[in-house]
């Protein structure tokens, strides 16, 4: 780089608005980047997992004898072989590396196999015999709220209740000329990163357990791996390998503890690569939510109140669910100035797959509800949905549902105004959708 150019790039704000070439983009375009599933280490074993495949059950027995005798098999492990706490979780240690007392979701791992090749590992997995006693599964919000339902963890199935309160709800209702009321459901969603989860572990000559993994957070991984496997923190090294997409799900533990345990037990390098199907049946998803909302407005279009309940299904583990669902409550009024608010959220344990972080982190589930209500209100008032939003959106000087004061960085009004100008310039109008053939 010439002296002039380097002086220029050293200027404050030089890079703002310019394209920056990612340093690893070329090696990726050449196909040279090695993701964990591409890596091979001499003497490496291949791992496979036996998944529970059923949502809720007591584990009576797991018989690994025949699997352990299968050709090419180096180790078959169950919870009894885990030296440490066997627990992990981003907020609460409520997930097991290998299921011990119970199966809590179909995506629980029951046993691990390490073998000379993947096919041998897969065949050994098929030879593991499992004796499960089914329990009533908690699969819906209603199940989770049922006080007679079996608790999935100690402490019951309602993990957390949060509230947002602002103004005087009754007064808001009294001032309303129109009120809309509806309930909304969002579905469970997989992040589907293009790279399925994978991990590679080996114990180095100094006794350090090295784990290579496409993770979003190696240090937090280490804090979970070490106690689960009863290792001091300085005997675990997590190496962040190239990550083929995460979108939140690789914030959590994926293959780390499993490959780590197998490497400790076999004293050989072990690689675990999920199939796409495994990636879909295990690890975290986006939270499904059920939302019952009621919103009011005056005849002049001004919002008066929002009254809502949000039920979030976090599955068999909290992961970051308590934060995601709480955040949905905080954002239940979206970018709008609502003077009177009551919102309650409930973080519910179910026997569904664990939900955790995913792009948007609870905010977009809430948007499904509040944006639907804005459209419904505008329609009821005979106003343009755009005008209705411009009238009610947060502006500098106003406060959010939780009292955060907006400053000049609050750009929604300007954004909506630009949309309005654009539509006016082209004579575009909002239409209510109609069935077309």
């Amino acid at each position: 780089m010439s002296e002039d150019a380097s002086r220029e790039t050293a200027q404050p704000y030089h890079w703002i608005g310019r394209n920056v070439t990612k340093p690893d983009a070329l090696e990726k375009a050449l196909g040279a980047t090695e993701y964990v599933g591409d890596m091979v280490v001499p003497g490496m074993l291949h791992a496979k997992i036996l998944w529970a495949g059923t949502p809720h059950a007591v584990i009576r027995n797991i018989d690994t004898r025949e699997a352990a005798r299968a050709p090419g098999v180096a180790a078959v492990l169950t919870a009894a072989d885990v030296p440490g706490t066997n627990r992990y979780g981003l907020a609460v240690l409520d997930q097991r590396a290998l299921a011990d007392d119970k199966v809590r979701s179909a995506g629980d791992a029951l046993a691990l196999v390490a073998a000379e090749d993947e096919e041998a590992a897969e065949e050994a997995v098929a030879k593991i015999k499992v004796d499960l006693e089914p329990l009533r599964p908690i699969l819906t919000y209603k199940d989770a709220l049922d006080p007679d339902g079996p608790p999935i963890h100690e402490g019951g199935n309602v993990f957390q209740h949060t509230t947002v309160r602002k103004g005087d709800l009754e007064q808001g209702i009294a001032e309303s000329d129109v009120i809309v009321e509806d309930s909304y459901h969002t579905h469970r969603m997989d992040h589907v990163p293009m790279e399925p989860e994978a991990g590679l572990a080996y114990v180095d000559p100094s006794g350090v357990l090295n784990i290579l993994v496409g993770t979003q957070y190696p240090y937090r991984d280490r804090r979970q791996i070490a106690p689960a496997l009863d290792l001091p923190m300085n005997k675990v090294r997590v190496v962040q390998a190239p990550i083929g997409g995460g979108f939140g799900r690789k914030d959590d533990i994926t293959a780390e503890i499993h490959v780590g345990l197998l490497a400790l037990k076999t004293r050989r390098p072990v690689r675990l690569v999920y199939t796409r199907e495994e990636s879909l049946i295990a690890n975290t998803k986006r939270h499904p939510m059920a939302m019952s909302f009621r919103t009011g407005a005056r005849a002049d279009g001004r919002l008066t109140f929002l009254d809502g309940d949000i039920y979030g299904d976090t599955g068999a583990g909290i992961s970051l669910g308590a934060y995601v669902i709480k955040k949905a409550g905080i954002h239940a009024t979206g970018p709008y100035d609502v003077p009177n608010i009551r919102v309650d959220t409930y973080t519910l344990y179910t026997n569904n797959l664990v939900s955790g972080a995913m792009r948007g982190f609870g905010v977009m589930q809430a948007a499904v509800a509040h944006e639907s209500q804005m459209d419904q209100l505008a329609h009821k008032l005979g106003m343009s949905p755009l005008e209705f939003r411009i009238k009610n959106c947060l502006k500098p000087g106003l406060a959010s549902s939780t009292g955060q004061l907006m400053n000049e960085g609050c750009g929604i009004e300007a954004t909506l105004q630009r949309i309005k100008d654009y539509m006016n310039a082209r004579d575009l109008r909002f239409k209510r959708s109609q069935a077309a053939s």
Partner: protein, 159 residues
């Protein structure tokens, strides 16, 4: 039972042993250590394993090894010449078409195959050609831009 296969890969012949039901993708990745072709789904849904077979893009996860015998196989590893990236590779980097990179090799192979038979494609033709390659990061806009820029770059070279 394992059998011997001679595969014509990237201009040379490579001998390998495999079961006849193994996929070309597994043999490329595990036996020949050509790991640029990725295994995103192993059932033809994602396109990250795309290679050329006799010049045509195929999902190598569903090609059984014996079906690849006597055919010309080209993988992502063969696109750069003398260390010089192919224009599609260069433009994917420059236009910001590469993020996590996992779909990138397959995407580039589909784009490369398109430009071999259609040197000046429309955006619609580009989108159709890469419609079998899933990318979860970019939203495709910058990939389409990269393929168009590569077509322009290659056109200029030709004149």
């Amino acid at each position: 039972m394992k059998q011997r296969y001679a595969l014509r890969v990237n201009g040379g012949t490579r001998e390998t042993e495999a079961e006849p039901h193994e996929s070309l993708l597994d043999v490329l990745r595990e036996n020949l250590r050509l790991t640029g072709s990725k295994k995103g789904c192993n059932e033809a849904e994602c396109g990250s394993c795309t290679v050329l077979l006799d010049g045509r893009p195929v999902v190598s996860c569903l090609v059984l090894v014996p079906d690849a015998v006597d055919r010309e196989i080209v993988t992502i590893e063969a696109l750069a010449e003398d260390g010089e990236p192919h224009p599609v590779q260069r433009q994917m980097v420059e236009q910001g078409g590469v993020q996590c990179g996992y779909c990138t090799p397959g995407m580039i192979m589909s784009a490369y195959a398109l430009l071999q038979e259609n040197p000046d494609p429309t955006d619609e033709e580009i989108r159709f050609a890469i419609s079998g390659n899933i990318c979860r990061c970019t939203g495709y806009g910058k990939i389409v831009k990269a393929v168009r820029a590569a077509a322009e770059e290659m056109g200029n070279e030709g004149t």
